[in-house]
């Protein structure tokens, strides 16, 4: 039985990135392999390349390392048993290393789609034209989770530096199924403008013979892949006419659909999700946020079931002290300015009303989150918010910061006290650009 190694997706960084992700990993293979050539932005010596799966930041990872550091030569072995939210499985270096030197590393993940705990084997080297600071690393690891792997995130160890331009990451699928023919062409059933992107639905005609699906956009030749019967074509220009082809891929080639009808992209503002409260919960969560927009906006109207007037926010379930916030508030009398730094959430993302306010009076706000999926920017928020209690009230402008390069994939809003009362609504929108 032949084994085929199929390149799924390559990322060559044109600029620095604090995180590199592979999303929507097709399920049609047996094993995965990632080949990495990377260099770091900072001035320290060798730095690990960490990885995690499915955006799982819990302490579900264990690993055993064998390391060699040259100059004086040191061989060490370490073990981490459920104490990390990642596997520190590869290595690269920064400006202390010989110019133009990039690391050489490979990550293997067998049976990534099975109902087993996921095992990894990785090896990497970083070379230096001296007897010092060359580094070799061999790591076996596990992700203590039986879910299929649908995404992989790579970050420099420490989370404060970046992969530099020229770094390359390629994801391969390995199959022990021998392809005997090209797949039949899929059939496009609908296309929808979703603000800076297009959603293309299609019917598979030959799924058992197909490794993954991709869509090709004309003009521009943007190519995206998927394993489902819907694919999103991203980075589309506004007011531009596009047609799309869906390809059913395997190692022998692709069955290609007929070109779709043309779609002209007018829409740059799209509803993602709306959550209405019923008084039974103190949190509102938006999860699995699509990554193809440019910015996000939350528009809300809210009241609490207890006293208090504040709504808090965190991103991606991150409760580390990486948030800060500043406030300018007027109440019709003296203006107020305040701040919170090194907080475990954005303490006031917006105002609301509660039981100390007049009945049926709600607070409201508009929260903007800019470049939410950037991998080289920390995330900035801006909120205009307030309430009027017919005799008192607040009007405020807030800024907020989440010090992370990670794309925002989930947002959790939490009450200061009590629950969100019935009649409260939170709507998330995506803004194209």
């Amino acid at each position: 039985m032949s084994v085929s190694m199929y390149p799924i997706y390559t990322q060559t960084l044109a600029s620095s990135a604090g995180i590199v992700s592979f999303n929507n990993i097709p399920s049609g293979f047996d094993d995965l392999k990632v080949i990495i050539s990377a260099r770091n932005s900072d001035t320290v010596s060798a730095r690990g390349i960490t990885f995690r799966f499915n955006n799982d930041v819990s302490l579900s990872y264990s690993s055993t390392e064998l390391n060699m550091i040259s100059g004086p030569a040191t061989v060490s072995s370490s073990q981490f048993l459920g104490t990390n939210s990642f596997i520190n499985g590869l290595i690269h270096g920064g400006t202390n290393y010989t110019a133009n030197s990039f690391s050489n590393g490979i990550l293997d993940i067998p049976n990534y789609n099975g109902a087993n705990i996921k095992t990894t084997l990785s090896s990497g080297v970083m070379e230096n034209a001296s007897a010092t600071d060359s580094y070799m690393r061999l790591v076996s690891g596990i992700w203590n989770n039986t879910s299929p792997i649908t995404s992989i995130q790579f970050l420099p160890f420490g989370g404060t530096s970046s992969f530099v331009a020229g770094s390359t990451f390629t994801l391969y699928g390995i199959s022990n199924k021998y392809d005997t023919r090209i797949s039949n062409a899929p059939i496009i059933t609908s296309i929808t403008d979703i603000a800076g992107a297009a959603s293309i639905s299609f019917a598979e005609d030959d799924d058992s013979n197909t490794k993954n699906y991709s869509v090709v956009t004309n003009p521009t030749t943007v190519t995206n892949f998927t394993s489902k019967n819907t694919v999103t074509a991203t980075n589309l220009n506004l007011n531009t006419s596009y047609t799309f082809n869906v390809r059913a891929n395997n190692s022998l080639g692709a069955g290609i659909s007929k070109a779709s009808a043309s779609l002209t992209t007018y829409n740059n503002y799209a509803s993602i999700a709306t959550v209405s409260a019923n008084g039974n919960s103190n949190t509102i969560t938006f999860s699995n946020i699509p990554q193809h927009y440019k910015h996000l906006q939350i528009r809300y109207i809210s009241r609490l079931t207890a006293s208090g007037d504040q709504i808090r926010l965190n991103f991606n379930n991150d409760t580390s002290a990486e948030y800060s916030q500043h406030e300018l508030t007027g109440n019709g009398g003296s203006p107020y300015a305040g701040s919170n730094v090194n907080a475990t959430n954005i303490p006031i993302i917006g105002f609301t009303t509660g039981t100390t306010h007049s009945s049926n009076v709600f607070g409201g706000g508009i929260i903007d989150i800019f470049d939410y999926n950037s991998t080289f920017k920390h995330k900035t928020t801006r909120t205009t918010t307030g309430y009027d209690n017919n005799g008192s009230g607040l009007s405020s402008l807030f800024s907020g910061l989440w010090q992370s390069f990670a794309p925002v994939i989930s947002i959790t809003l939490t009450t200061q006290s009590g629950n969100f009362a019935g009649g409260s609504h939170f709507a998330l929108y995506g803004i194209g650009g």
Binding site: N128, A129, N224
Partner: protein, 185 residues
């Protein structure tokens, strides 16, 4: 399919040292798989092991300038872990391991050598080798790193042995590995 055989060399006579020329430039990475044995009965220590184990070495584009090669070595023999290096002192990149001809007959070493972005002109070429040789009573397991300090695309690779080339029966295969032209997900 993303891993394509480019060329194979089967050693017929002892001491042969092949050159792979005109390496196609349309791949992204190279993998060289070496199954080899040293035709000498003992060797010096240039390979980085004891006198019973030699190593293949790679010279790129005919470059025999020692200042352009760096290698580091970490190996184990079942009892001891040893590290060493060659910093711009050897005119090639030393990779892998192969047993000498006085050890168990018909036993060969295996070396899997990965060279990423071999055709990129914005990078020095970093080499990673995982290799081993077991002769039924002793053996070596090694991981090696190396660098050819040139931004030139690799167009040829000379595969030698530090002591005496390769013994008859050795096989050296070079593969090209492609990446994907898919750009979004």
């Amino acid at each position: 399919m993303s891993m394509y055989p480019i060329a194979i060399y089967r050693v017929i006579n002892n001491n042969e040292e092949p050159t792979f020329s005109n390496i196609p430039q349309n791949f992204d990475h190279l993998q060289i798989r070496v199954l080899s044995r040293c035709p000498a009965s003992s060797v010096g220590l240039v390979a980085g092991f004891n006198s019973n184990f030699d190593a293949p070495y790679f010279r790129f584009n005919g470059d025999a300038t020692a200042a352009n090669y760096v290698t580091h070595n970490m190996y184990a023999d079942g009892a001891t872990i040893t590290t060493n290096s060659n910093i711009q002192t050897v005119t090639a990149a030393i990779t892998g391991v192969m047993p000498v001809n006085s050890l168990t007959a018909n036993a060969y070493g295996i070396s899997v050598v990965d060279i990423l972005d071999y055709s990129k002109t914005n990078k020095f070429k970093t080499i990673k080798t995982i290799a081993g040789s077991d002769v039924n009573g002793s053996g070596i397991m090694t991981i090696r790193s190396g660098m050819w300090m040139s931004t030139a695309a690799i167009s040829s690779i000379f595969v030698g042995g530090t002591a005496a080339g390769h013994a008859a029966g050795s096989i050296i295969t070079i593969y090209g590995i492609t990446t994907s032209n898919v750009t979004g997900a």
